[in-house]
């Protein structure tokens, strides 16, 4: 395993920047996601305008992978419709399960594409997918 393929520059930036880590004013949806075995614990907050995700943020604690993955996901879904966001979730989970490998397909995932290598690290997969599962729970 090459640590450089896991702790990439982009993941580090998202982990440290915290630009999506804040409380929303009167969110429409608050969904808590938790990995009981390792202690990742996030709350995803969404502000909806009809079917559009107008704003999104998260709070909580977790490892660099879970924090970065959450932040990248939020960048991606802001301004999208709920259905588009759910499509992204499926794409991301497909990438992690190695079911989707076509690069053109994956480009739509924005920064999150750097988490592709996590699929080689079984112990960390649940950190990467936590926020995506949480989003699915939140809007389904």
């Amino acid at each position: 395993m090459d640590l450089n393929s896991i702790y990439t520059q982009l993941i580090m930036e998202h982990n440290k920047s915290g630009h999506n880590k804040r409380a929303l004013c009167n969110p429409d949806v608050c969904e808590r996601g938790h990995n009981p075995s390792c202690g990742d614990d996030i709350t995803l907050e969404l502000k909806l305008n009809g079917n559009i995700i107008e704003d999104a943020s998260f709070e909580g604690v977790g490892c660099a992978i879970s924090q970065a993955s959450t932040s990248m996901m939020i960048d991606l879904i802001k301004g999208k419709t709920v259905d588009e966001a759910l499509e992204m979730v499926e794409k991301f989970l497909g990438m992690i399960k190695k079911e989707i490998t076509d690069e053109k397909e994956l480009e739509k995932l924005g920064d999150s594409i750097v988490l592709q290598n996590i699929s080689n690290m079984p112990a960390r997969v649940k950190c990467a997918v936590l926020s995506w599962h949480t989003l699915k729970e939140a809007v389904s």
């Binding site: 982990n15 075995s37 202690g39 604690v61 977790g62």
Partner: protein
């Protein structure tokens, strides 16, 4: 001076004949499970190749041999913890099953409404949840002893929580998170004065320090084989004979009976009353071999050596400003476990990064969520030592620790 050479002893453990990520395997997750020496692996193989049968059931050679070997393993456990007789030694799957047996059999029978059960906030979930269940079902009260800032149970906490209302105290001999060796002698004395029984969770202590159940005067003492060089799936419940005799069976079925009628049954004498169904015979034999191995080194020697390792590691860690240590600073109160955090880095990342240096440590809440909440920590990383670890292992561990922050983009 040590009477054994850890470097040489390590060669008994074939798992170390491999590299992890291009480096020698440094195994510091002994609090979770330990590795097996050839002496244990070969003994299980010998049993399977020569003596495997179902004990206590047949008149044929293999059943007789399996019975002898199973009983012989129990005899070894008896001597190892200095129980009075093998009637007091029940084989279970693990510490968790032993604790559940006590909770469901002793707890459900003898704990009554408004009785108090006392445990410590540092307990493993396996020593919390069974007592929650008893407390809920019997309308009893579950009380916690809290720790001081160094992870110790203060004497006044023992005195204020264990009272004449207390019917049962259940406490880990050594904390699996903090490494604290709790004052169980004082706890047992206090509880006995007030008429309460004491269950000691010996999962972390039995592999590492000499345990004498008669000297401690513990009513119940439980531990797992797989944390002391034996296979997974074999555990031990020690109980004083007079307590076990008055307890109803936990699991029922084959081998634990005397006479079975259409509507009723009578039960086998101790220890078989608590051993329903075919047991893990090869696990028991592996445990017997593990005990032989540990005794050939000597528990006092092992304890002394682990103290040396902890002191060596702590001295180096305390020099690193961004590493924070949990648990007692006084070495006489701690075993071979170091729980730590690194500023700005989640323990799960610590574990992944150390793994790339070949170093195996545990990260998470260590099955002790109430303790984590009490310490206001989401998780810690934990290094736990055993007799095959060396100074060089710790050097590599420290080298890894010094590199952790760099990988996450922090200066040092």
């Amino acid at each position: 001076m040590l009477n054994f050479d850890p470097e040489k002893l390590k060669k008994d453990f074939p798992i170390f004949n491999q590299e992890i990520n291009g480096r020698p395997l440094i195994y510091l997750d002994n609090g979770a499970t330990t590795q097996k020496p050839n002496q244990v692996i070969n003994e299980i193989r010998r049993y399977n190749e020569t003596s495997h049968g179902n004990p206590h059931r047949g008149a044929h050679q293999l059943s007789i041999r399996a019975t002898e070997e199973y009983d012989n393993a129990k005899e070894k456990v008896k001597s190892f913890i200095n129980a009075k007789s093998i009637e007091e030694i029940i084989f279970t799957r693990n510490t968790t099953e032993s604790l559940n047996l006590i909770a469901y059999s002793y707890g459900m029978e003898f704990i009554k409404e408004n009785d108090e059960i006392v445990i410590a906030i540092s307990e493993h979930h396996s020593n919390i949840i069974p007592w929650q269940k008893v407390a809920k079902d019997k309308n009893a009260i579950l009380k916690y002893m809290y720790l001081d800032e160094e992870g110790r149970i203060p004497i006044d906490e023992i005195e204020s929580k264990i009272t004449s209302k207390t019917k049962l105290v259940s406490i880990a001999h050594m904390s699996n998170v903090l490494g604290t060796i709790h004052p169980i002698r004082e706890i047992i004395e206090r509880a006995h004065e007030l008429g309460a029984v004491v269950v000691v969770d010996g999962a972390q202590s039995t592999p590492h320090i000499k345990v004498d159940v008669q000297d401690l005067n513990a009513d119940f003492y439980v531990f797992s084989g797989h944390k002391m060089l034996a296979p997974m799936g074999i555990g031990v419940l020690y109980g004083k004979k007079e307590l076990l005799e008055n307890m109803p069976p936990f699991l029922t079925g084959g081998d634990m009976i005397e006479y079975v009628y259409e509507q009723d049954a009578t039960f086998a004498p101790l220890p078989f009353k608590f051993e329903a169904g075919t047991q893990n015979v090869e696990g028991a034999i592996g445990l017997g071999a593990a005990i032989d191995y540990l005794q050939s080194v000597g528990l006092n020697e092992i304890e002394k050596y682990e103290k040396f390792l902890v002191e060596y590691a702590l001295n180096k860690i305390l020099d690193i400003p961004y590493v924070n240590i949990q648990g007692p600073k006084d070495l006489s109160m701690r075993g071979g476990i170091i729980s730590f955090t690194i500023d700005d880095v989640h323990p799960h990342d610590i574990s992944t990064i150390l793994d790339s240096y070949g170093v195996a440590v545990r990260a998470g809440h260590h099955c002790a969520q109430p303790l984590m909440r009490y310490l206001e920590l989401p998780a810690t990383a934990r290094a736990s030592f055993y007799l095959y670890n060396t100074k060089e292992d710790i050097d590599q561990f420290i080298e890894g620790i010094k590199n952790v922050r760099k990988w996450l983009g922090y200066g040092s």
